[in-house]
């Protein structure tokens, strides 16, 4: 065991377990020493990371089972050879240089940080790896211990994930584009249906029978309704596509402006009122914020109960976000519809009583999410009224900006 020649050493390293008997006749101290060596060797062999000890000349001095598994070489093929045999040819020269500079200033570190590293296996495959380097003082100079982790699986998972993310982004962009084009192009024939049915209606003889008249009415109503749906779909798609123009926005002014906008529906409901606390100035898209408050406030006004609608807007400041609330005293929402109410064209009530296409809250949700926030509602059991809340981060920058590659066309 004191023999330092390569072949004996190789043999020793390869089959330390078989050497047990050689030490049988040694002194107790030597036997103890040998047992300890064996334990260390077992530890090295048990490591799931490939371990390679490289001498100052770049020769491989020690490997473990994981190294054999990772690179496909047997121990005998590795020991004594330059470590560069495990480095892809394209970076081999570079590696020699790195190795020399490492031995000049050896300290524990991760190899090639920020770069993708590859090892070269016996069958010529390049294996993605991560390498940790530790200098080890040996009797014949400083050695470098490489602990190598096989990243193949992690890499595959990452690649698959990146591919999925790409595909998702692409299919989202396509969907947006589809919704826009579809709704835009659907307007044209619809305009004809509407105009000409109205014209026919106008020219119908006065004595036309009641059922024909009713049929005409349904055609006109259907066309009008489809028009509303298309308009809303366009609006919804626009909220997703438009660039998020972040400005400093005084929310007081936004809410006052919205109160002005909904004044017609206010006038239709005697006693209805909208109030607000003092609200902050925040960073957001002003036009989207107007749309958001308009939809939530209008919602509160619309779904009123026996009493005149009361809607109140308030805001709480937290460390890194604003929590806005729009509280009403209306008919409330059953918690089991929590998911559904934010979906496009989902309605919980019959049209006759509460008209609308059911897109208002879907648009509100989209606006909040484009700002990187969350929206939800609270409705206490047995108590009237709903509180819609939305949380907006103080810094909405760096959030997803929608699909910018689609043509920006505003209508």
């Amino acid at each position: 065991m004191t023999d330092q020649t390569g072949s004996v050493k190789k043999k020793h390293l390869a089959r330390s377990a078989e050497h047990q008997h050689l030490s049988a006749g040694c002194s107790p101290q030597e036997a103890e020493l040998e047992a300890e060596r064996r334990r260390y060797r077992d530890i090295i062999e048990a490591s799931p990371s490939a371990l390679i000890l490289v001498g100052p000349d770049g020769g491989i001095v020690l490997v473990n089972r994981a190294t054999e598994r990772l690179f496909g070489y047997s121990r005998d093929e590795l020991l004594g050879n330059p470590v560069e045999m495990l480095i892809p040819t394209s970076v081999r020269t570079g590696h020699k240089k790195y190795r020399k500079s490492y031995f000049a200033e050896p300290q524990p570190r991760i190899m090639g940080q920020g770069r993708d590293l590859y090892g070269l296996s016996k069958n010529g495959e390049e294996v993605p790896i991560e390498v940790g380097l530790t200098p080890i003082q040996m009797p014949n100079g400083i050695h470098a211990l490489s602990a190598i982790i096989d990243l193949t699986r992690r890499k595959q998972a990452e690649d698959a994930l990146a591919l999925q993310a790409d595909e998702l982004a692409r299919s989202n962009a396509e969907l947006e584009q589809f919704a826009y084009v579809a709704s835009h192009d659907l307007q044209e024939p619809l305009r004809m249906v509407r105009s000409y049915t109205e014209l026919m209606q106008k020219r119908l003889p006065d004595d036309l029978d009641a059922s024909a008249r009713k049929a005409m009415k349904y055609v006109v109503e259907g066309a009008e309704r489809m028009q509303l749906l298309i308009d809303d779909l366009l609006l919804y798609s626009r909220v997703g596509r438009a660039d998020l123009a972040i400005d400093r926005v005084d929310v007081n002014a936004v809410v006052d402006h919205v109160i002005n906008l909904v004044s017609v529906s206010l006038a239709e409901q005697p006693g209805a009122c909208i109030t607000r606390d003092e609200l902050p100035t925040i960073r957001a898209s002003e036009s989207m914020l107007v749309q958001l408050f308009q939809n939530l406030i209008f919602n509160g006004l619309k779904f009123h109960g026996e009493e005149p609608a009361r809607v109140h807007v308030s805001c709480k400041e937290l460390k890194d976000r604003w929590d806005f609330s729009v509280q009403d005293n209306g008919i409330g929402i059953d918690a089991k519809y929590a998911e559904r109410i934010f979906q496009v064209f989902q309605r919980l009530h019959e049209r006759e009583r509460y008209p609308g296409t059911g897109i208002g809250l879907a648009i509100a949700k989209r606006i909040v999410e484009r700002h990187g926030g969350e929206i939800g509602f609270k409705c206490k059991v047995g108590k009237r009224g709903t509180r819609f809340y939305f949380k907006l981060p103080k810094d909405p920058a760096g959030r997803r900006g929608g699909s910018h590659e689609t043509a920006v066309e505003t209508d």
């Binding site: 307007q187 105009s195 000409y196 014209l199 209508d411």
Partner: protein, 150 residues
Amino acid sequence: MKQQSRPIEILLVEDNPADVDLTLESFAEISTRNRLHPVKDGEEALRFLRQQGEYTNAVRPDMIMLDLNLPRMDGLEVLEIIKSDPELKTLPVLVLTSSHSQKDILASYSLHANCYLTKPLGLDRFYQIARAVESFWFDLVALPRTERPG
């Protein structure tokens, strides 16, 4: 044009027969003093304006209503030709289109369209446009008096 007894001549450049009928219907509904001349594309419109081909005896219109979405030569090209022709550029051109796009609005005004109208959705709105166009452009606005050369 209060004293004028001759009809208001309007060149309508529109390829969709349903839209032609609607426009004719709307202008007929609001008054009897207008006369619409529908043509189906830009080239035909230019022949009409320059009294060429089948239009050697065409009247000089008082106004042009121009759709943007036309076969072959599109509406913006027609607009550009009209507005760069010294004989034609004083004619008011009203763009009447189904496009709501900012791009089209901007391009139209950049090429000196006199106004941009989007085709309305209901019949009543169509009448409203006809009424507004007639009363604004022919009762309120002063237009240069142009005679047919020759």
